[in-house]
């Protein structure tokens, strides 16, 4: 069972029911559950969307798109059925927050999905979990069955004349399926390759119908926004970044864990106070702020950095999925870059050539480099390759591979140079790194 952590600076909104047995529907109701859905049923779609807009809730999957605005793009009238699709394919390295929501608060996921359905006028929602999360899928399936038994899902939800169905779905191992259009392909029983946009999912999505796709954390946050009111939720966070965020803090810290902190919380404090500082009293070398696809930050860049979409963007990186990976001074950045690119090479679906070829060449170059067979020209070649992947693919996987690579090369050029001329890696433990 994953360990739960806590810290006095936490503001527990999404995680407030963690560890309280809320996977049990009666317990969830006792803790105030399903009240938000009832309220939304009474208030209607326009009210829901206004509350969501006022909340400044932005998508927790990584792009940070305002949720209320996303919902408002779905046409009111549609010849085809509309759908809500919840993305629980959580696979960005460094991120394990949805894992805890599925485990501790599956009904929040259902309630948020119902509310999204009411807002856009959909009768069907899908909750897609990555294939590795089988035990969590079973928890979700039980929760959905319990919600049907209580009449919260079905033909007449909460005794109204409104219908809403939820279907849970398992993936079978694919990072790429976390991209929204690839996710729809997978749910339609196909290879998870991305679709070209436009049309956007809000217009033509799942089975050709207008579709809203939200990250699992986003949707689990929705009932809390309704309960406390959009404006109050917005008040917890920083400007244009409403509420709290589940930060998955991992790597070289004393107390790794998923901590819920207000948007805009200082990154340095997050590492040194919330997560207990760098393990073994070592020095901080670098931080990956939002999952492995986000460019690395140096210690001097985190001093006053507030963790919200806009501030991290201004610092040249991204808040991404909120996966904070802390790296100490005993770590080889070239090895870290190699392990990062090996992942993207493995996960590239092969649909777009710049990504398929680019990730492969980057992996080959970095493997050779780390083994001590690099040349000075390789450093610029790595940079050139990565720069030419950016923005040239259907989906963001190409960027996700290129961005961190560029960050490593730019900010740690000296460390790359230290590997040149047949010199062994100064930190080497795994020079013959096994490769997936």
């Amino acid at each position: 069972m994953p360990r739960l952590v806590s810290h006095p600076d936490e503001v527990k909104v999404v995680s407030k029911r963690f560890g309280q047995g809320a996977a049990n529907i009666d317990k969830y109701i006792e803790l105030g559950g399903y009240e938000a859905a009832r309220k939304c049923l009474a208030q209607g779609p326009d009210w829901i969307i206004e509350e969501m807009k006022a909340s400044n809730l932005r998508g927790r999957g990584g792009a940070g798109f305002p949720t209320g605005m996303k919902w408002s793009f779905v046409p009111k009238q549609s010849a085809r059925p509309k759908y809500v699709l919840i993305n629980g394919d959580e696979s960005e390295p460094g991120t394990c927050k949805d894992h805890l929501i599925f485990l501790h608060d599956p009904h929040a996921m259902i309630e948020g999905t119902i509310i999204a359905g009411l807002a856009i006028g959909s009768k069907m929602g899908f909750i897609y979990l990555r294939g590795e999360y089988r035990y969590l899928l079973e928890i979700m399936e039980k929760a959905v069955a319990d919600a049907y038994a209580k009449g919260f899902l079905g033909k007449n939800i909460f005794g109204s004349d409104i219908e809403f169905q939820i279907i849970t779905q398992s993936g079978a191992g694919a990072y790429e399926v976390g991209e929204e259009s690839a996710l729809m392909e997978s749910l339609e029983g196909k290879r998870g390759v991305p679709r070209i946009k436009p049309p956007f999912p809000a217009v033509v999505g799942l089975y050709g119908g207008p579709t809203v796709i939200n990250n699992a954390e986003t949707i689990a946050t929705v009932p809390h926004v309704i309960t406390m009111g959009g404006t109050a939720f917005a008040g917890i966070g920083s400007a244009r970044n409403g509420g709290t965020r589940l930060f998955s803090i991992s790597g070289h810290v004393e107390r790794p864990g998923v901590y819920e902190l207000p948007m805009g919380y200082n990154l340095k404090k997050m590492i040194y106070e919330v997560a207990g500082g760098v393990r073994g009293g070592r020095k901080l070398k670098a931080v990956v702020p939002g999952g492995s696809s986000t460019p690395v930050l140096l210690p001097e860049e985190i001093e006053t950095l507030g963790m919200d979409f806009d501030q991290v963007g201004k610092a040249g990186s991204m808040l991404g999925s909120g996966g904070v990976v802390v790296i100490d001074d005993q770590t080889c950045i070239v090895e870290f870059a190699l392990r990062t690119i090996s992942f993207y090479q493995h996960e590239s679906c092969g649909w777009c050539i710049p990504c398929r070829e680019g990730t492969d060449w980057l992996k080959k170059s970095l493997t050779r480099f780390h083994a001590g067979f690099g040349t000075a020209k390789d450093i610029d070649n790595i940079r050139y390759l990565a720069e030419n992947m950016m923005g040239r693919t259907f989906c963001p996987l190409g960027d996700a591979a290129a961005m961190p690579t560029l960050g490593f090369v730019k900010k740690f050029r000296k460390e790359f140079e230290d590997h040149l001329d047949g010199k062994p890696c100064p930190f080497a433990k795994h020079t013959e790194m096994a490769v997936v």
Binding site: G94, I167, Q169, S186, L187, S292, I327, F343, A434
Partner: protein
């Protein structure tokens, strides 16, 4: 196909598949989970599995293979009864995943995608499994084991050996 007479799956799984295809607006949506559940029962996607899944969904076998080859959890030859999947992605790597992976290789005497004698264990180096804050982490089949050390590896294997009757 009459599920009772023709299916290669147990009656329970066959019944589950009968219901699964009816669940979605489009029958084909059952494909990915059906392949995974079929693999859970049979051990891998054998020719017979592909043929029955194709028939149940109404696709050609080629279409099913085309989809199946995309997903990394799906396999076309048997794994061990206990498939040990060691995550070595960044968060796990920083906390010693390669040392854990090496220990598994040493204890089991196999490498990536190897299978031990009598098919008890198989070993795989895998990508992020979503347990980054409890790293290094592994999955044995679908069960997670968190906060591992190389020293803890023999104990984990011994527990599974006991479950398999001491082999």
């Amino acid at each position: 196909m009459s599920a009772e007479t023709m299916s290669i799956f147990s009656p329970k799984v066959a019944a589950r598949f009968d219901a699964l295809v009816e669940k979605y607006p489009l029958r084909r949506s059952a494909l990915v989970p059906m392949l995974l559940y079929a693999q859970d029962e049979i051990g891998y996607l054998s020719d017979a599995v592909i043929a029955e899944v194709a028939h149940r969904i109404g696709l050609t076998e080629l279409e099913v293979r085309n989809v199946a080859t995309y997903y990394s959890m799906l396999r076309f030859k048997p794994a061990g009864k206990f498939n040990v999947q060691v995550c070595t992605n960044i968060s796990c790597m920083l906390r010693g995943a390669y040392e854990v992976y090496e220990k598994f290789q040493e204890e089991l005497g196999i490498g990536h995608k190897g299978v031990t004698a009598y098919g008890v264990f198989s070993l795989e180096e895998v990508e992020c499994i979503g347990a980054c804050c409890w790293a290094p982490a592994i999955q044995v089949n679908y069960d997670f084991h968190d906060d591992l050390t190389p020293e803890g590896v023999p104990g984990i294997l011994a527990d599974y050996r006991r479950k398999s009757g001491g082999q």
